[in-house]
Structures are given as structure tokens and as C-alpha cells.
């Protein structure tokens, strides 16, 4: 989009005038930026770094009372990351998170783009659920006690992981020549994309239990996870459809001419190329969902944001909610920034590799 915008401006203005106005405009922009920096950034840095207190108790923080109280974050860090999980078992969510994060990093590197990666994902997700929930030698921990960063990671990763096959199916369905699959896929995609995630979460938690009778108890976390997966599916479907449209029809004709069936040519020729095109869109959707998972606060589940809020309500540490929000914001920012930088790197790398062929 930025590239497109740049082209229009360049075409829309004459070079001479552009040179003259650019000086004034950039000078104004610089002054405005410096002014904003001075007004916003300086007090923030003073609060967050210069006057901040890094160790001690809540009373120490209140006595000084000017800067941020990072001692609060330090004290509550295990709780913010793992929530209500039994303290003696906190190594389990920690290990489970490491497994998932390691696999996400492996998946991001083209070096590991092999067939066994899918198997590795299935094994890792099984391991994650076993570590979190228990069973066998590990004591059982109910999902009500899961919380913090592992929940945020699980909702994002499992949501996108389950959402991708759903999205591919919906995209293929939408481009199908048969009426029933096409209408079904189109309806699902349009309805889900036309409703906010908050509404779907409310609906699944308030209406589904009322519609089913008591006794049948559906796990709230499962409902939320299903909601996120369907949502991711609908959004990914549109991205995949875009990718499919960008593959020239000649490819399909060529594959058919070689004697491949329609399904084979779709699976072996068209889809691999389409999915490659879709990777940048996939990454931006992933970053979006990473942040959107925090919406589960409204249905009383404890993701990273909600455990931080809960930590700030401890009577012993009342008054440090700003620190809690800033800290969680920093974690989300770090995660999102890393992934989008990676997206840029990958785009550049793929551009060169396409040129080479």
C-alpha cells in the first residue's frame, strides 16, 4: 500500500514544485515531531526510567511516589505470566511456552520448511496440552487455572493453526464451480468477517450454554479457542483466495495437460504457489490475532492482559495499574514488532529468490 501511495504522489506532482515544498514541509514535520517528543516522551522517560523504583515494597514505591514502580512487576512477574496456575507446577506452563515459541521460531525460518514440520507441530501441540492439562504422571490442572502468557500463545498459535486449513477449504469452496460449496463458503466467510470478535465471544459464552441444557458443560477456554479459530479461518480464507487469484490460469492448464487430475494439480501446482504469495498477508493477520486474543478478558478468562489487571487489584499493590498496562503493552509490542520485522525480511528474501528463478 505504501508503495502504491508513493507512486501516486510522484505522478501527481511536478518535480520542481515538489523540491521547493519538501524543504518547508519536512522542516515543519521535524519541529512538530520534536515538540511531540518533548511533550510526551520526556515525561514518559522520566516516569519510566529516571524516577522509577526497581526494587522494594509497595510502601517504598508509595513513599517516593513520582516514578514507575517496576518493583511491582518484578514481584508479580510469575503471576502475570502464569496466572492462577498452581505455583508448584509453574515449570509446566513455562516449558510448554518454550516448546511453542521454539516451534514458532523454527517455522519462521525457511530452512525448516520441510514436510516433517507439520508432524512436529502436531507433536508440539500435543505436548503443550499435556504439559498444561496434565495426565499420566503429571497431576491434572483444570483449564480454569490456566492463565497468562501460555493462554495468549495458545489462542494465537492454535487459532491460526486450525484456522489455516479452514481458510484454505473456504477459499477453495468460494472458487468452486459447484453452487452449494460456493454459497456455503461465501456465507460463512462474509458472516464471520461481518461480525466483531467481541460479539462472537459474548455469543459463544452467553448464548451457547443457555441453548444447551445444564449438565452439558462446555469449557469456556475451548469456546474461546473455537471462536478465534473460526475467525482466523474466515480472514485467512480471503487472503488465500487472493493468492489463488494471482496464480495464472495457465499453470492449471499446464498441469492438466501433463495428465494430473484437477485435485492433484490444485494440490501440487496451484496451492503451493498461492500460499507462497499469501505469506506476507498471513503474517499481518497473525500479528493482528496475537493482539486480538486479549479480547477474551470480557468473558472472564485470564490471558496476559487479564492476569496483569488481576495482579494490580491485589490489595497489597493497589495503585500500580499503569505499570501493569505499560508492561503488558511492552510484551505485546515486542512480540508484534519482532514478527512484523521478520515479515519484511522474508518478503525481501522471497523477492530475491523469485528474481533468481
Amino acid at each position: 500500500m505504501s508503495a502504491a501511495a508513493r507512486i501516486t504522489t510522484a505522478r501527481g506532482q511536478r518535480p520542481v514544485r515538489r523540491g521547493a515544498t519538501r524543504g518547508i514541509r519536512s522542516a515543519t514535520l521535524t519541529i512538530v515531531a520534536v515538540a511531540i517528543g518533548a511533550v510526551v516522551l520526556v515525561p514518559f522517560v522520566r516516569w519510566a526510567l529516571v524516577d522509577a523504583r526497581w526494587t522494594g515494597t509497595a510502601d517504598d514505591c508509595r513513599r517516593e511516589g513520582v516514578g514507575a514502580c517496576w518493583a511491582f512487576i518484578g514481584h508479580k512477574l510469575p503471576f502475570i505470566f502464569f496466572g492462577l496456575y498452581p505455583p508448584a507446577e509453574r515449570w509446566r506452563p513455562a516449558l510448554a511456552t518454550i516448546v511453542i515459541v521454539a516451534l514458532v521460531i523454527a517455522t519462521m525460518l525457511p530452512l525448516f520448511w520441510r514436510r516433517w514440520l507439520v508432524a512436529a507441530w502436531i507433536v508440539a501441540l500435543g505436548l503443550f496440552l499435556w504439559l498444561m492439562g496434565g495426565g499420566g504422571t503429571l497431576p491434572h490442572v483444570a483449564t480454569q487455572q490456566w492463565g497468562g502468557f501460555p493462554i495468549t500463545m495458545m489462542l494465537t498459535v492454535l487459532g491460526l493453526g486450525v484456522g489455516l486449513p479452514i481458510g484454505i477449504l473456504l477459499a477453495l469452496g468460494r472458487r468452486s464451480r459447484l453452487t452449494v460449496p460456493r454459497l456455503t463458503a461465501t456465507t460463512i466467510v462474509e458472516v464471520v468477517r461481518g461480525v466483531p470478535l467481541v460479539a462472537v465471544l459474548y455469543l459463544s459464552v452467553l448464548v451457547v450454554p443457555l441453548a444447551l441444557s445444564t449438565g452439558v458443560e462446555i469449557d469456556k477456554l475451548l469456546l474461546a479457542q473455537a471462536g478465534v479459530a473460526v475467525f482466523a479461518g474466515a480472514y485467512l480464507a480471503e487472503a488465500v483466495r487472493g493468492g489463488l487469484q494471482m496464480v495464472p490460469p495457465r499453470r492449471l492448464d499446464a498441469a492438466r495437460a501433463l495428465g494430473l487430475t484437477r485435485w492433484q494439480s490444485m494440490r501440487l501446482v496451484v496451492l503451493p504457489e498461492a500460499l507462497r504469495i499469501v505469506i506476507p498477508a498471513f503474517i499481518s493477520i497473525a500479528v493482528g490475532f496475537f493482539q486480538d486474543t486479549s479480547l477474551i478478558v470480557i468473558i472472564g478468562l485470564f490471558d496476559l492482559l487479564n492476569t496483569a489487571r488481576l495482579a494490580a487489584q491485589d490489595p497489597a499493590w493497589l495503585g500500580f495499574h499503569t505499570e501493569a498496562y505499560v508492561f503488558v503493552g511492552a510484551v505485546y509490542f515486542a512480540g508484534s514488532a519482532l514478527v512484523s520485522r521478520y515479515g519484511l525480511w522474508l518478503e525481501r528474501r522471497m523477492a530475491t529468490s523469485t528474481r533468481r528463478t
Binding site: F82, P86, L210, A311, P315, L318, G319
Partner: protein, 355 residues
């Protein structure tokens, strides 16, 4: 006395019907099918079959928060645990289900929890229109004012002309207007989207006072950088009686909740605390002996352990202990008992006799 487990499950399914439809007609049908066990809904049997009480809570400082190790603590949580002790003799046999204010009633109605202990006020519309039962009031709250000590205001009526910060979209502003009209004074209300903003406004002097529920005022006061320079005025300009909320149509469960919530109050009236309950059990005072389940026919209904009152006091403590531990002057919230004193000390806490 005890409903058989199989029958209890049937009854609970019938109740599920009521809960799901919440219409009068469905209630009649279920009532007829319950037959001889009229009024004995299946909640208690369902709780026993599950092995835990499911208690709906709403997070709030002093009422329901998690400590560093992730264990729920607070005033509401202690009452949930008291139920677990009364039924199972074990504080851990409780599942605490956190709800937001928006979900709480549908969570109760759908049967996701057995009751709410989450700071809901008793109101006529909730009982008559929405068909919820309320247990005993275990916390009397009301809207009050927080002012800086430097303003030297002792009573709310002296706040004539004051700028008062209130939260958006609550009845707080209406209560404020009613109070002003009744006392012939005027306020300049400043409506804040979020009370965190009000904390800053009070600290900077943009507001002369903050008005909200008493429990909220205690939290707000603690959030200020120098809480000791602010005071909560004694006036309460609205009534917020906080009670456990139950589904309609299960009298047996209602009575269990009623008496479990009354036991800590009765214990305080007798002067029995966690530390002294063992000694009290040796007492020859017949009323104390009846209360602690040492005489038959007083506390042993519904298949409860006759000594459940003893167990509750030994595990959770009396009302005063629960209050002091979670909300009282020694906690960061520093709340006064106020209306929640025993009736004999000028408050409203009064337990019907265990007899």
C-alpha cells in the same frame, strides 16, 4: 431427608429446563414432575455429585483477588469457601468462576455456577422480574464520598457547591442528584469514563470529592499516592445490600446458603472465633452447644454433617474475622465496619437463632 442421587440428577435436569426457559409455564411443569420432592431442587445433590461448589465471583480488591501464588482470596471468596466447608468439610472443594458484571446473571441462569457471591445488590426487579433468589445480606454497602482531609468536610451535606467526580453510566450520578435535591444543596458532577481518571483528578484538586460505592471508595483511596491524606465520609446516600444470588426454584439450596452465610455472624454474636471455637465446644451454654451442632436436630438437616457450623468457624472464622482479614483497618483497604457491625454494636448484622 437426603434426595437420592439418581432422583437428584433427574430433578436437576428438570431445573435445567426452568433455568433455560425461565418462563412460568415451564416452572409449573417441572414443579409437577418433581412431585413429592417439591421444593427440593437438585443443586445440593449436583454439588455433591460434582464434589465441589461452583461459585461465581467478580474480581475486586479485598473481595476476590489472587495472591502471588495464584490462590483466590477475599471477602466473597471466604464465603464461597465456607459453603465448601459446610458441605464437604474442605475449603478446597470450591470452583471459583470469575465473571464480568455483564455475564454474571446469564452465567447463573445457564447453570454454569450454583450461586453468585460477587457483590450483587438485592433489588426488587432482580427478584420479581428476573426471578432470582437472594440469600442473607452479608455486606451492607452504599454510595459515599471520598474527600481530602485538607478540605475539612465532615459530612456530605457540607459539600454544597463542590465538584464531584463520578463514573459514567452508573446510577451514581442519579443518586447524587437525589441527595442534593433532598438536602437543598448543589453539586457540580464531573462524569469520568473511568475511576482511575478520577483518582488523578482528586489528587490534582480538579475534583473536591469522588462519589461511588463504599467498597470502591476504599479501593480508590488506596490507589492514591498518599491515602492517609484522604477520608471517606460516614454518609451513605444509597442502599446497596450485597447478598448471594441463586436460581429460582430450589428451596433446599436456598436454605443451605442462608444458614451457611448466617453461621459466621452467629459465631461473632456468641464471641466464638477461630481460636476459641474448640474451647466453645466444651461450653455448657445450651445455645452455644446447639449452634455448634452438639445437640441433635438443629444443624443436621439435608444430610449435612451436624458439626458443619463448628467446621466453618474453625476453617474460616466468624464474620468479624472475615471482615478484618480482607477489608478491615489492618489491610491496605482500611475499611471501617460501619453498617456491617453487629446489631448489638449499632450495625445491621443479625443472625436468626440456630435452634
Amino acid at each position: 431427608m437426603t434426595v437420592s442421587r439418581a432422583h437428584g440428577l433427574l430433578a436437576s435436569l428438570a431445573l435445567a429446563g426452568i433455568a433455560a426457559c425461565s418462563s412460568g409455564a415451564a416452572g409449573d411443569v417441572a414443579g409437577a414432575s418433581a412431585g413429592a420432592h417439591r421444593g427440593q431442587g437438585g443443586t445440593l445433590s449436583a454439588v455433591r455429585a460434582r464434589g465441589a461448589v461452583k461459585c461465581g465471583i467478580t474480581q475486586g480488591a479485598g473481595f476476590a483477588t489472587a495472591d502471588d501464588s495464584g490462590r483466590w482470596r477475599g471477602f466473597d471468596v471466604d464465603f464461597c469457601r465456607a459453603l465448601a466447608v459446610a458441605i464437604f468439610g474442605d475449603t478446597s472443594k470450591v470452583q471459583l468462576v470469575p465473571f464480568t458484571q455483564q455475564q454474571r446473571f446469564s452465567g447463573l441462569q445457564s447453570g454454569e455456577v450454583d450461586l453468585l457471591v460477587n457483590g450483587s445488590s438485592v433489588t426488587s426487579s432482580r427478584a420479581l422480574e428476573r426471578n432470582f433468589h437472594f440469600g442473607p445480606v452479608y455486606f451492607y454497602d452504599g454510595q459515599g464520598f471520598l474527600t481530602p482531609k485538607s478540605s475539612k468536610v465532615a459530612r456530605a451535606a457540607q459539600l454544597d457547591g463542590a465538584t464531584v467526580c463520578v463514573q459514567q453510566g452508573t446510577t451514581t450520578e442519579l443518586n447524587l442528584a437525589d441527595f442534593a435535591r433532598k438536602n437543598g444543596i448543589s453539586f457540580k458532577p464531573v462524569v469520568m469514563e473511568d475511576l482511575r481518571g478520577a483518582v488523578g483528578a482528586l489528587a490534582s484538586g480538579r475534583c473536591d470529592a469522588i462519589s461511588q460505592d463504599g467498597a470502591g471508595l476504599a479501593t480508590t483511596r488506596t490507589m492514591l499516592r498518599n491515602p492517609n491524606e484522604y477520608v471517606i465520609l460516614p454518609d451513605r446516600i444509597s442502599k446497596e445490600p450485597i447478598a448471594p444470588v441463586l436460581r429460582f426454584g430450589d428451596d433446599q439450596w436456598l436454605e443451605v446458603v442462608n444458614w451457611v452465610f448466617r453461621a459466621p455472624v452467629e459465631a461473632e454474636e456468641f464471641g466464638i472465633s477461630r481460636a476459641t471455637v474448640a474451647r466453645a465446644a466444651q461450653s455448657s451454654d445450651p445455645s452455644v452447644r446447639r449452634f455448634l451442632g452438639l445437640e441433635p436436630g438443629v444443624t443436621d438437616g439435608f444430610g449435612l454433617n451436624a458439626r458443619w457450623t463448628y467446621n466453618v468457624i474453625a476453617a474460616i472464622g466468624n464474620y468479624g474475622e472475615i471482615f478484618d482479614r480482607n477489608l478491615g483497618p489492618k489491610t491496605p483497604l482500611g475499611m471501617e465496619r460501619g453498617l456491617n457491625k453487629l446489631w448489638s454494636d449499632g450495625g445491621l448484622m443479625y443472625s436468626p437463632p440456630f435452634r
